[in-house]
Symmetry: none
Subunit: 192 residues, 4 copies
């Protein structure tokens, strides 16, 4: 049974990396099987279809981020520090962009409706966690109470996603240290 779960995980891991690298339609079941070190037929002992595998990797992606967020949020640190942690997480994790709203949209045509809904719920949850963090900031007095927390969450997610993508795009390097980014988010780019 432990072995069963392990093999299942192997297949998902293999699939996830191939899907990311080549996209859904350019990834063949045979490749997933080979990379997972099993036979093609074996894949179908663990999953009923390629679709199901994809669905699951999508949900996984969101879940991974969700868990990280939960974990960060549960720490006994300030809002500012939590944001900093989030940025670190995102910086090393390409999956962040994919897991956020645009990940859902990008794959809308590939994932099954059911899973789109599930992902959207997950994204909702993630937004809720971030909103909680922001509310903590408001309580701590570091975040302005004049702006809706959801809007702020949107800003954080979108901006940090673009930072990641920007950096990944063709190895272009812009000086983007965390401190600067956080200052930018907190203070905006306007002259005071």
């Amino acid at each position: 049974m432990a072995e069963y779960n392990q093999k299942r995980k192997d297949i998902l891991t293999s699939a996830r990396s191939l899907f990311r690298e080549k996209g859904f339609h350019n990834t063949k079941i045979e490749e997933i099987a080979a990379k997972a070190g099993v036979g093609k037929g074996t894949v179908y002992e663990y999953f009923t279809s390629k679709q199901e595998i994809f669905d699951e990797t999508c949900i996984d992606k969101v879940a991974v981020i969700h868990d990280s967020l939960e974990e960060i949020n549960s720490r006994n640190i300030s809002f500012r520090e939590k944001i900093e942690e989030m940025l670190s997480m995102k910086e090393t994790n390409t999956e962040f962009a994919e897991a956020s709203v645009d990940g859902v949209m990008t794959n809308k045509n590939i994932i099954s409706k059911k899973v789109v809904l599930a992902m959207m719920n997950h994204v909702d949850d993630m937004y809720k966690i971030i909103v909680k963090m922001i509310d903590q900031g408001k309580e701590e007095g570091s975040v302005s109470k004049d702006v809706s927390s959801e809007l702020i969450a949107c800003l954080i997610v979108g901006a940090s996603g673009e930072f990641v993508r920007f950096r990944h795009l063709n190895g272009r390097t812009v000086p983007m240290d965390k401190k600067t980014i956080i200052n930018l988010l907190f203070n905006g780019f306007g002259v005071k």
Copy 2:
């Protein structure tokens, strides 16, 4: 000749909307033809392959945004007003998200290398225009000279993209009026 160009455009329009709706691999040439009101073979009088059609819709997408940005930037208005215009543009134009960095990344596996490069150059150009706007803001004294213009551009693109996506995602509605968003970008969410 005029008719030739018109039919070509019809096919591209049909293709663009189907690609957006169903993705590249789920869109059949036959559907593109039907929606454009022509026969399957006719498509190949205007394009040499499905790939070529896709490539062209991608470049188009970027070009459309690029032109809008150029146009906005050429107006004799303040930086703040330009940003406002950009947000309006984006708000009505789903293509914005697709045209920015993540549009390139999303389709990396589908578009031909050549076109990925072309798109990246376009994206570069777009960033350059936005950077110019920001520099105008710096000159006008409304934008802080302490932050790199590229970083600010990244913030604007990412955030506004996420706003669009967020809104489009399953009709969820958050109060996001332009003034609020612009204030958020200029002043951040930190307490002053």
Copy 3:
């Protein structure tokens, strides 16, 4: 009317050379039209189908050879000289091989049944002319009366066809002057 026939001939000439060069299935109507200097649609004013064009070029091929043979046979010269003429004809005319029995067999799958029959009749006729020549040789006392004229005809046609093909195959050059070949046919390769 004269113009009509001329254009028809142009198309056939164009088709014949393309069919020879690239084969039936690799030759497109568009190419035939272009090489004949007419529009694609025009071809169908003169022929009802690609098949018909091919059929006609096949019959033509045989007819051309048939006419040459008739002409040679009608001359007031000896059998030996006639053979010599035939070899000259063949040497400069690739169509010979194609027009003989193996030309029919090669194209059996492409030409319509009706035309296969027509060609076979033509080939029959050609054989009859050659048989007549041989009979002349028998009368002249230069050809042995012990061998069936048809068998001899077969020898002449087959051998000279292979000489042509052999020479055309990849520009290989073997010394094959007419005198030697004719001696070989008359006397065989056996030691006397």
Copy 4:
């Protein structure tokens, strides 16, 4: 593994007979599969393309003849007997004509360049074997040393090919017993 080779052979056999019967372009992969008793997709488990199948049947054809010739030549019999054997072989083997020079020329437009070259080399080899036989005849004193062995080879191949074709062409029957043919080749049709 034995089964693999068997199925591969089945497909080749099916293809060969269909190609012969209907030509390359009129033979559908589906037919080849059906005749071989397998599914369409299975064909592609054994070959990468229709072209490859065709190429292989072509090379096979030449190889079969090549082997027969080698075998005949290796026997401890006189040149005259070897020729007799060759004629017998050809009489039962339609592939002979296809395997000789004109087989290569006929399919020049269909086979891949690479395989045309390979076939031409095979044909070269076949000619070399026949030349060896002829040289044996010269040594035995039955073949005239005054004629180039290559020319004689050409005569033998061409003539015997035409005999085969002539006979196969629509069931026409001419009295062509081996002895007569061999006498014709050795002594020619001239009066001594």
